[in-house]
């Protein structure tokens, strides 16, 4: 990591005296440094959470209990989920926001640089606490990432307090990051950069930040109630004391459903930047993209109970949540349509960022369709808690969110490092990932429809073949990500010199600064009134 930045130092402005060594990273308030740290942190967490997935897939390779005991298996599924959601996907987006938002809106840095440093540096502690709990007597959290009561209260291990505190810290970090993004976007835009001229990545993050501010405190409330129920004798979720365990699910999913959009809206922004660049056409329907993103965010607060159709709700409530959920496919459909229309009659080339973006559009749509199937209340009773659900959310999160993060990394790596990445290796990474991700997750649909429940270490013998195929896909997907690590390290260390704008069709202020981006950019704000990025389609 220090090599990366050693090179960036050459571009340091002379009035800036950066400390060297570890203190430089500890005390940095530079948005690019913090962005890099977020991205490396999320990649490390991606590998840690991925190794846990490998344990899960190895155990499920054949029926029966072979490698791990069921309690440890449950800890693996739980911590895999927590790490991938809070440690991999969310910090990766925050890292991209740190790197790109100031450069995209022509700001010299984030608005609150010291808070920025703080919001990153509490994250490693949060995950150290979470991972440490795995080694405690009685094991770590084993109640699923959704920590339903009473699994997380009456029946959880003694280390649950560690889980609660680590979620608190993650939440504080996310909230500080979101506040920073909002203040930066509201106050630091260059002259001429009106709201409706902002690149869509900035827009999607702006909306995501509001979602974070609205729901992360609710999650903090939910874990606090679990904490007091378990250790201080309250009865929020304990029926014996007048509480209600079903209420936990309502509170959790009031956070949980907006949370899944927090993990996908920035992806929409990324793909909306990349597809026009490689189709060499301005984005189709910029304004409708903004409104669709806002509509999805608004609707996300009205659909939480579709996660709990089987808890016994009045038919009226089931219908309400079913229709609201289906309504979300309208703005999402607008987006997919706009991406396709952007490519229509474009001069498309298929560099790796474009390949990942195309795979995103197709595979995310598959995940969206299985989501629509799950939204139908009567059939959800069959799909609920089966591998069909697992297939659905991995399609939207792995081949959706993660693929978009990969696309973003390849797209902006030349800007970050000043070198072109190895296109051959990157294409190998793409094809290996694309094939293995489908071998991994597609058969899960069939296992789920056939009745295989999720979160189990052992299964009935008729699921053996499907699980073997899935596990092979899983190992292949895991190994493929090491190619990505190799490409990134190779690109950081050297490679063909990247020009300021390595992609012919790319638009935006970040391409007007040299590659690698100097340590300080836009000390004097650029005049954006002449060339509004991504706004040409208005005419």
């Amino acid at each position: 990591m220090s090599t990366v930045v050693g090179e960036m130092d050459q571009h340091d402005d002379h009035h800036h005296h950066a400390p060297s060594g570890v203190t430089r990273w500890l005390f940095t308030t530079n948005h690019k440094d913090i962005g890099s740290m977020y991205l490396w942190f999320s990649f490390i967490m991606f590998l840690v959470g991925g190794s846990m997935a490998m344990v899960i897939r190895a155990e499920l390779f054949q029926p029966g209990l072979q490698l791990v005991d069921p309690h440890f298996f449950n800890q693996m599924t739980t911590v895999h989920g927590l790490i991938m959601v809070f440690g991999a996907v969310m910090p990766a987006f925050t890292g991209l926001a740190n790197w790109m938002i100031p450069m995209m809106i022509g700001a010299p840095d984030m608005a609150l640089p010291r808070m920025n440093n703080w919001s990153f540096w509490i994250l490693p502690f949060a995950f150290a606490i979470l991972l440490a709990s795995l080694f405690m007597e009685g094991g770590g959290p084993a109640f699923g990432w959704t920590f339903y009561a009473p699994l997380s209260t009456t029946y959880s291990s003694d280390s649950t307090a560690l889980f609660v505190f680590s979620v608190h810290i993650m939440g504080i970090s996310s909230i500080m990051g979101a506040i920073n993004v909002i203040v930066t976007i509201m106050n630091m835009r260059a002259p001429g950069m009106t709201y409706m001229k902002m690149p869509l990545f900035v827009w999607s993050w702006f909306i995501t930040a509001f979602l974070l501010i609205a729901v992360m405190p609710v999650l903090a409330g939910a874990v606090t109630m679990v904490l007091t129920d378990k250790y201080f004798g309250t009865s929020f979720f304990d029926a014996a004391g007048g509480g209600d365990p079903v209420m936990f699910q309502h509170i959790f999913w009031f956070f949980g459903h907006p949370e899944v959009y927090i993990m996908i809206l920035p992806s929409f922004g990324i793909v909306s930047a990349i597809i026009p660049a490689f189709a060499r056409k301005p984005l189709f329907g910029y304004a409708s993209m903004v409104y669709a993103t806002a509509a999805i965010a608004g609707l996300s607060f009205l659909v939480w109970a579709h996660h709990m159709f089987t808890t016994g709700m009045p038919v009226f409530a089931e219908l309400f949540f079913m229709y609201c959920t289906m309504l979300i496919s309208v703005p999402t459909g607008v987006k997919v349509f706009n991406w396709v229309a952007t490519m229509w009659r474009g001069s498309i080339t298929f560099e790796t960022p474009m390949l990942f973006s195309l795979a995103f559009v197709i595979l995310f749509t598959i995940g969206g369709f299985s989501g629509l199937m799950l939204a139908i209340t009567p059939v959800d009773f069959q799909y609920h808690d089966t591998y069909f659900v697992v297939a659905h959310f991995h399609y939207v999160l792995v081949s959706g969110a993660i693929f978009s993060i990969m696309a973003a990394a390849y797209f902006w790596l030349p800007k970050w490092t000043g070198h072109m990445y190895d296109e051959g290796l990157a294409k190998l990474h793409f094809w290996a990932s694309l094939i293995s991700v489908n071998v991994l997750f597609f058969p899960m649909h069939f296992a789920g429809l056939a009745g295989m429940p999720r979160r189990i270490p052992d299964y009935s013998i008729q699921f053996a073949d499907i699980n073997q195929i899935v596990s092979i896909g899983g190992f292949a997907f895991g190994l493929s990500q090491l190619i990505f690590l190799w490409v990134v390290i190779k690109c950081v260390k050297g490679g063909e010199k990247a020009p300021a704008k390595p992609w012919e069709g790319a638009e935006g202020l970040e391409w007007t600064v040299p590659s690698p981006a100097p340590y300080h950019t836009f000390d004097t704000p650029p005049d954006t009134s002449k060339t509004p990025p991504e706004a040409q389609d208005h005419g």
Binding site: A111, L112, I175, A178, I179, I182, V183, M186, N187, M188, R189, A190, P191, G192, M193, T194, I213, A214, V215, M216, P217, V218, L219, A220, G221, A222, M225, F236, A239, A240, D244, V246, M247, H250, I251, F254, T311, G312, M313, P314, V315, A317, P525
Partner: protein, 192 residues
């Protein structure tokens, strides 16, 4: 706004956003009483206000019959025996019925318990009226004693046509810990 190169507004925005954060944290906790109110009003989740209903003055709708089932259970660690005298009764909407629930305290100490009802489907809880029920009060039971506890109810004739079966479930909770020693000692011994 974009013209402002200093950051005069930052503090104000941060303050507002932090207030929102605090507000949403409080909202998370406010969901707890809101949920109770919501459940009481709608019968959502099978919970309902367990108050005493007015005496039955409704006309009996003999054209239809509803099957009312009774389920009993005791909370984890609760030693009592607790069961309905009959598992189900068939009633006409508007018709008043009395069902006895049998409880016994097999332990060597006086105990106090409270039964909490739940109705499925949740919608039906709005139409199930209890004129008299042991669940309105706490139940004291001396060591080794047994008792029959009456529950008098009727279904509102307004109950929707598509409801043919109503399940009433009681869970018995141990409340002994909350009682004063005097109250426990005052519980009448069983007459053999």
């Amino acid at each position: 706004m974009a013209e402002q190169q200093g950051k005069p507004d930052n503090t104000r925005i941060v303050r507002r956003l932090l207030l929102t954060v605090v507000g949403m944290f409080a909202f998370g906790f406010a969901l707890v009483p809101l949920y109770d109110v919501f459940c009481d009003i709608t019968g959502f989740n099978g919970r309902f206000t367990d108050g005493q209903a007015a005496a039955n003055t409704k006309t009996v709708d003999t054209s239809r019959t509803v099957n009312v089932q009774f389920i009993t259970r005791v909370n984890k660690g609760m030693p009592w025996g607790f069961e309905p005298e009959v598992n189900s009764v068939r009633v006409h909407p508007g018709e008043t019925k009395v069902v006895n629930f049998l409880a016994n305290n097999p332990t060597g100490g006086n105990m106090i318990a409270q039964a909490i009802p739940s109705v499925a489907p949740g919608e039906a809880s709005l139409y199930l009226n209890k004129v008299e029920c042991f669940c309105f009060n706490q139940q004291p039971l001396a060591a080794g004693a047994k008792t029959a506890m009456p529950m008098q109810f009727y279904l509102d004739p307004e109950i929707p046509d598509d409801i043919h079966t109503v399940t009433l479930s009681y869970t018995m909770y141990d409340m002994t810990e909350n009682a004063t020693p005097d109250a426990l000692a005052a519980i009448a011994q069983p007459v053999n």
